[in-house]
């Protein structure tokens, strides 16, 4: 495996880390509006309270890694997706603000306004991340200099929107399972009941998305012909782990259900990675203008240096991330000290 391939995998790992971790706190947004009681909403927010900030760092680091390892991809995608990424930025700013400011005042209007802002910005963030990924998988028009040749409307095509919606449903399901771990009593029972909707909803979206990919995307069909066994194996695994969520819930294994949901995200990202490799930005209709892990990358020297940096740094990051999640394990309780 050469350094370019290693960095393809590493960038995918960072993005997957982002999806698995920030996925449940983005998904918490829409779910927040489904509970009406203020203390229940606060349970939701407290469940992600100590960790959402760290989760967002995965996105920042994935962005930095993409810049360092594949600068041409970074430049093309970020400038090409200008409006989409600006909207994503505004949504992320609003989310952070909403979490921080909501609880500063007891006024009902104040709180419901920030709850709405939190839900809408979380939903928008998930949708936009999905749309961006969808476009990368589907392909975007690039010229010989690898510059994006479309407009905002090019990016808002039905396929990308389908991936966007799938991402939202995936994150909502993931959040549902995370919140089950963090709640007790009637709220807990309701969340368990919701899995009857959130899991099948994601599965339907997952199947539609895959059907659309198979039937409509020419270059992914080629990839499937070339690496059928790998792709089919990941696809089957993805369905199996998602169905397993329902089984684990039925048997009361809530922790395992959450792990299964995380595995759904991981397998979905693997499916995406295996389908586009070695390309990073597929160019349609002129496939020759695609950016791949070789013509979009930094030099070997840079990739090698950063590989050592990541090899030392990431285990440390994982070690204390796991420790911190361990410290904050268990159910959320709003105690007498709470307002």
């Amino acid at each position: 495996m050469d350094l370019n391939t290693i960095w393809f995998v590493l960038v995918c790992v960072l993005l997957t880390g982002y999806a698995v971790l920030d996925g449940f706190d983005l998904g918490t947004g829409p779910l927040l509006l489904l509970v009406k009681d203020d203390s229940e909403r606060r349970v939701f927010l407290n469940a992600i309270g100590p960790i959402w900030n760290g989760n967002e760092v995965w996105l920042v680091t994935a962005g930095g890694a993409l810049f360092a390892a594949f600068p041409y991809v970074y430049a093309t995608v970020f400038s090409g997706f200008y409006d989409t990424f600006m909207l994503l930025l505004f949504a992320l700013i609003f989310r952070a603000t909403a979490i921080e400011f909501r609880s500063q005042r007891p006024s009902r209007l104040w709180r419901s306004a920030w709850d709405l802002a939190f839900a809408v910005s979380s939903l928008t963030s998930a949708l936009l991340v999905g749309i961006a990924i969808g476009n990368l998988a589907w392909g975007i028009p690039l010229d010989a200099n690898h510059e994006f040749q479309g407009t905002l409307l090019t990016l808002l095509n039905p396929y990308a929107l389908c991936v966007g919606v799938t991402t939202v449903l995936l994150f909502v399901m993931h959040a549902n399972l995370y919140l089950i771990l963090k709640t007790e009593g009637s709220l807990h029972a309701r969340l368990l009941h919701w899995t009857k909707f959130t899991v099948p909803a994601y599965l339907v979206a997952f199947f539609s998305m895959n059907a659309a990919t198979l039937l409509l995307s020419p270059h992914i069909a080629t990839a499937i012909r070339n690496r059928a066994p790998v792709l089919v194996a990941i696809f089957v695994a993805s369905i199996a782990v998602t169905l397993n969520i329902l089984r684990e819930i039925k048997h009361g294994h809530e922790g395992r259900a959450f792990v299964s949901s995380a595995l759904s995200i991981i397998t979905l990202m693997m499916l995406f990675g295996a389908a586009i490799f070695p390309n990073l930005v597929v160019s349609t209709p002129t496939l020759a203008n695609s950016l791949n892990i070789y013509n979009g990358s930094a030099t070997d020297k840079s990739l090698g240096f950063m590989f050592v940096v990541a090899l030392i740094g990431m285990p440390i990051v994982l070690a204390y991330t796991v420790t911190i999640y361990y410290v904050f394990r268990g159910k959320v309780q709003l105690t007498d000290e709470s307002y």
């Binding site: 900030n53 700013i93 603000t97 013509n295 268990g330």
Partner: protein, 541 residues
């Protein structure tokens, strides 16, 4: 307006706004380490209350710092795609390292800091505080490394991508080889190669030596200067809040304890800053002489150059309306600039004879000739002003920074003296009340100074984005339209105004509420109590 100009305004607005927050978190993180150490060492309740209060403040500032920091990273790609292509091999690494080594550390342990009061013991909590402070400082290191490389690029060479045909012949990337198979290789360019705007899809800076790139000539000076500025800002925020409490007669015990720590940190940092700032300016004189001439408003090369104190410089226009030089209307200390540039403070007479280059000779004729081969000396002299930064502007920002820096140093030293004599909390004295009132606004002065400093550094670098290698005007994204940037800029403006309003009101509320004796403040804000424990787990702390 062009995409380049709009993008510059947008990057300026978002960076300036963002940079209100990290200096506070970096500075307050040092204060928190001191408070938590005192808490562990003395076991006094007041240090616990103060730690909790300043941790709450830290959490609020940090959240806004993170939210406003992501747009900066994104904009290198969205607005400055040509720049990202050109420097990606070098500039991306520090940003990625910042993520892996700084942000994860800071945000991860911040969770323990904010929500861990009941979950971990005081020593572990102190450890977490140290890690947060370390993370905050690491992020400063790596972003300054990246930024310093833009000022004094080192450890790289320029290279051009070429197509290699089957027979080994090299062709430019723009050549159409038809259906013939080819590979791509990168060919090193000579050291004096001048980057052309049309090159930017195929020519880039390639790393030679990470050590040289990271420790480029300005990194250490600028890092020290910036970190000290952050400590000063954070310390004055603590001092300002404590002074307010003293004046209002509220939270007196907490106010006395925290003003002491704040003044101590501010004094040490301000005094160190005198040395660091001097060294930074000398670095500019050596590596960016054009910038030095612009910030000091020096028109001609001379010995016994005077150091500007106050006043202004103006553009001088020729008959055709072109800038030809500057008019000096500044009050100066004679010979002082020469002395500072030489750094020989023990031999003043000799040091004053040091020659300082003026804008009339900068950039050098040799440099201009590499950019404009074949031009006559007269033509080069006409072209020269297009290589100058906005001297009237940077003269003001630079001298504002210095004036504020001197003021803050004086405040810190006076505060220290009063503190040692035990007079700082005698609020019945008119003099003390007046002094405390000044201290209350001191955080604003510190922020103005850091902003003015950054304006000087970045405007002083113009017209270059990578100093004397790549022009800012060539670095903007080519596919982005002015309308798109105008729209995002307008939205940033509105959102940041809203954030400013929310932040100031909430900060004011936090300050007037003050530390809560013997408890409270387990979370960052009222609804943010920690995830409580299962009944079978021990409660500590």
């Amino acid at each position: 307006m062009t995409v380049e100009l709009l993008s510059r305004i947008q990057f300026g607005v978002t960076t300036s706004f963002h940079f209100l927050f990290p200096p506070m978190t970096i500075g307050i993180s040092v204060i928190l380490v001191i408070l938590q150490t005192l808490r562990v060492a003395t076991g006094k309740a007041i240090y616990l209350d103060l730690s909790k209060f300043w941790t709450r403040v830290f959490g609020l500032i940090f959240a806004i710092g993170v939210a406003t920091g992501i747009p900066l990273e994104f904009q290198f790609g969205t607005n400055w795609a040509q720049y990202a292509r050109f420097v990606g091999d070098i500039f991306g690494s520090p940003l990625a390292i910042e993520g892996i080594y700084a942000f994860f550390l800071e945000s991860g342990f911040l969770a323990l800091l904010l929500f861990g009061w009941n979950k971990v013991g005081p020593r572990t909590h102190l450890f977490a505080t140290c890690m947060v402070a370390l993370g905050a400082h690491f992020s400063a290191i790596w972003i300054i490394v990246a930024n310093s490389w833009m000022h004094t690029p080192a450890g790289y060479h320029l290279a051009r991508q070429m197509k290699v045909a089957a027979d080994g012949q090299l062709f430019p990337m723009t050549t159409d080889l038809g259906t013939a198979a080819f590979t791509v290789t990168e060919v090193a360019l000579p050291a004096d190669y001048v980057v052309q705007p049309t090159d930017l899809h195929h020519v880039r800076a390639v790393i030679d030596d990470f050590y040289l790139a990271i420790l480029n000539p300005s990194t250490l000076d600028r890092l020290t200067h910036t970190v000290l500025a952050c400590w000063i800002t954070g310390a004055f925020v603590v001092v300002g809040v404590s002074a307010w409490w003293l004046l209002r007669g509220k939270h007196l015990e907490a106010a006395r304890a925290s003003i002491r720590i704040g003044i101590a940190v501010a004094t040490v940092a301000c005094l160190l800053q005198l040395v660091a700032a001097d060294s930074t300016a000398r670095g500019v004189a050596i590596h960016q002489p054009t910038k030095l001439a612009a910030i000091e408003g020096l028109s001609t090369t001379r010995t016994q150059a005077g150091l500007g104190v106050v006043g202004f410089v103006r553009w001088k226009y020729g008959d055709d309306g072109q800038i030809v030089g500057i008019e000096d209307h500044a009050l100066r200390i004679p010979g002082m600039l020469s002395v500072l540039v030489s750094g020989k403070f023990l031999h003043l007479r000799e040091a004053a004879q040091t020659e300082v280059k003026g804008l009339a000779d900068l950039p050098s004729t040799e440099f201009l000739r590499t950019r404009h081969p074949g031009a006559t000396d007269e033509e080069l002299a006409q072209l020269r002003p297009s290589y100058w930064p906005n001297a009237p502007l940077v003269f003001q920002t630079y001298h504002l920074m210095i004036a504020l820096g001197v003021t803050l140093t004086m405040l810190a030293v006076i505060g220290c003296t009063l503190l040692v004599r035990g007079r700082l909390d005698r609020t019945h004295s008119r003099f003390i009340r007046a002094f405390l009132a000044i201290l209350v606004v001191s955080p604003v002065l510190a922020h103005l100074a850091t902003q003015a400093g950054w304006f000087t550094a970045e405007f002083g670098r113009q017209p270059w984005i990578v100093y004397e290698v790549l022009k800012t005007v060539d670095a903007a994204s080519t596919v982005v339209k002015p309308g798109q940037v105008m729209f995002s800029l307008a939205l940033f403006f509105i959102i940041y105004l809203l954030l400013t309003y929310l932040f100031t009101t909430l900060f004011a509320r936090m300050v007037s509420q003050g530390p809560i004796a013997g408890g409270g403040g387990h979370g960052v804000v009222e609804g943010w109590k920690p995830l409580s424990l299962r009944s079978d787990r021990q409660t500590k702390g």
